[in-house]
């Protein structure tokens, strides 16, 4: 094999990403030899902005960290403040928080399934999953008032109840998803062409997942049974003794840490989320939905306090954690935010080593990155020649590979 390599830049904007990031690949022929990543194209300084807002305003600011995980960040923040201030959350509020969090997981995993299908040129599946996803978004709108940025949480509870009238509506949507689940899993897990594009591609070993502190479905697909809902008790999750981290082993497959294992984990988590929401609807206690509903009183109480709290929550993409410091101010003296992609970004380097160029989009998308879209890429060849390919070119390469795979399947 020739040792001559050339540099391939992808990004900072690309259709596979939801925010800009720049990849620099060293390529030998069609194979990735080395990867370097540059970030910072959309750093908004939210942690700095949070220092100039009060405790309640920060909740709604943090919903904007991520439109898809828009309950996960406020959840971790509220838990950090509640831990620091010793605030108890009523049982009913803990159940409602759990339900909203799991509805978010449903729509996030369906969104990811569509993005991943598009990356491998399976647009029928992309349209199918995004069509199916509309039902859970409509449900979230009915329950919270919004499809994203739900404004459901407050410090010490939630802002809206799930009333008796809403319970049958939620159940109806869950029944609908249950009836679709077999069809979805049949397409995503048993379609031969999907398997051929995803198996043994973008492998992250157990050791590397541990070493690089991978989180969420990315970690679990590598056999690292890490799930904050089980490891670090919060909300209604401790009540569910049966809850365990999802693993490819649940499907009788030893984890390899490839893209296919990440698909398995997310598909099975759709089913698990349905079960969790049903449990919550069956066991939700009566009572208040917040310790205190008056925001001014909450701020007045918190501004007399000093302390530190760490809030952790299992977002659809993995562990979200917030570290919050209270220091006799109307808002946080210090707030550190960690989104799951921050942890998983470093795993790209090992996943992409040895991958083909046509597999880059699906490997990058397989961790469900919260980094954005792009529309150009540039080759810099060893002889100084520069070739620029559009996003359509890259997507075309992926589709060509899919067509080859399909031909082999039909043979």
């Amino acid at each position: 094999m020739s040792l001559q390599t050339y540099t391939l830049n992808i990004g900072p904007t690309h259709p596979a990403f939801k925010e800009p990031v720049q990849f620099k690949f060293e390529i030998n022929g069609e194979i990735v030899v080395k990867t370097d990543i540059e970030f910072g194209y959309t750093h908004r300084g939210i942690e700095s902005v949070a220092r100039s807002r009060n405790f309640i305003e920060v909740i709604y600011l943090l919903e904007r960290v991520c439109g898809i995980c828009s309950v996960s960040h406020p959840m971790a923040y509220c838990m950090a403040v509640e831990q620091a201030a010793g605030i108890e959350v009523p049982g009913r509020a803990q159940y409602i928080r759990t339900i909203i969090g799991e509805l978010e997981r449903l729509h996030s995993h369906l969104l990811w399934a569509g993005v991943a299908a598009h990356e491998i040129g399976f647009d029928t599946l992309f349209m199918y999953t995004w069509n199916v996803r509309e039902d859970v978004l409509d449900l979230l709108e009915q329950v919270t008032g919004n499809r994203v940025n739900y404004a459901m949480l407050t410090i010490g509870g939630v802002r809206r109840d799930i009333t008796e009238e809403l319970v049958p509506v939620v159940r109806e949507v869950l029944d609908h998803y249950r009836s679709l689940f077999n069809r979805m899993s049949e397409i995503m897990l048993h379609d031969e062409s999907v398997r051929m594009r995803c198996e043994n591609v973008g492998v992250l070993t157990y050791e590397d997942a541990l070493k690089f502190c991978a989180v969420g479905p990315t970690a679990r697909a590598s056999g690292l049974n890490k799930d904050v809902r089980v490891d670090y008790p919060m909300n209604a999750y401790p009540d569910m003794e049966w809850l365990r981290p999802v693993s490819p082993r649940d499907l009788g497959r030893e984890p390899h840490g490839d893209v296919y294992d990440r698909v398995i984990v997310r598909v099975l988590e759709i089913q698990q989320s349905i079960e969790i929401i049903e449990y919550c609807l069956d066991h939700m206690p009566e009572g208040p939905i917040a310790e205190e509903t008056n925001s001014v009183k909450i701020i007045n109480k918190l501004k007399k306090m000093q302390g530190e709290g760490m809030g952790r929550y299992e977002a659809p993409r993995g562990e979200v954690s917030h570290y919050d410091i209270l220091d006799n101010r109307e808002g946080p003296a210090q707030l550190k935010v960690k989104a799951p992609t921050y942890s998983n970004m470093q795993t790209w380097v090992t996943m992409l080593e040895g991958a083909e160029i046509a597999d880059i989009p699906i490997v990058v998308a397989s961790i469900d990155p919260c980094i954005a879209c792009a529309d150009r890429m540039t080759f810099t060849k060893g002889n100084g020649k520069i070739v620029t390919l559009t996003s359509a070119d890259l997507h075309k390469m992926s589709i060509e590979k899919m067509n080859e795979v399909r031909k082999r399947c039909n043979r």
Partner: protein
């Protein structure tokens, strides 16, 4: 094996003695019908033993996981860096122990040894801390910026108390900027 935070604290005190300045366990009950207790171990230690202490935790309790980028508290003489780790992750129900390690660093010598050789997943967070707070990480394999643009001078650290964006400072009083 069930991991207990007080055992971890005792072990650190036994090995590093007075270099472990303080330790406390914050407990919080969770769950509605089935109560379980969240336990977080907070340890304050001297900068010179931090790398060895983390290596000890790794050797005796398994690979530490970094949960969150380092927070900081600024004082007149220096700043505290707060490292939120977790131990024993993914090995059993409610058997994960968060260990929050606090290390004081004086402003006159704002540096600490990198722990990216012990916890490779912390490298990006150290790069962020370097640019946002100005802490130098000795022996780091990668000292590049992570988030800030190259136009920002390297001696400006946006997350330090009192930082004012030069663009705002230079245009203060001009039309549209107050």
């Amino acid at each position: 094996m069930k991991l207990h935070p007080d055992y971890i604290a005792d072990r650190l005190k036994y090995v590093f003695g007075e270099d472990i300045h303080a330790s406390r366990i914050v407990e919080r009950e969770q769950g509605v019908t089935r109560k379980v207790t969240q336990r977080v171990l907070h340890v304050t230690m001297a900068r010179r033993v931090f790398h060895r202490a983390l290596s000890l935790l790794k050797n005796e309790f398994g690979q530490p996981h970094i949960s969150c980028p380092m927070a900081s508290k600024e004082y007149d003489e220096g700043m505290e860096l707060i490292y939120p780790f977790t131990l024993f992750s993914g090995e059993g129900e409610y058997n994960e122990i968060p260990v929050v390690i606090t290390v004081f660093i004086p402003y006159k010598d704002l540096r600490i040894r990198t722990v990216s050789d012990v916890v490779p997943g912390i490298l990006y967070m150290e790069r962020e801390t370097r640019e946002m707070l100005g802490v130098m990480f000795e022996d780091t394999p990668d000292d590049r910026r992570l988030f800030t643009p190259s136009s920002l001078p390297r001696d400006m650290h946006p997350m330090r108390n009192g930082f004012i964006d030069p663009a705002i400072k230079n245009n203060a009083g001009k039309e549209g900027i107050k």
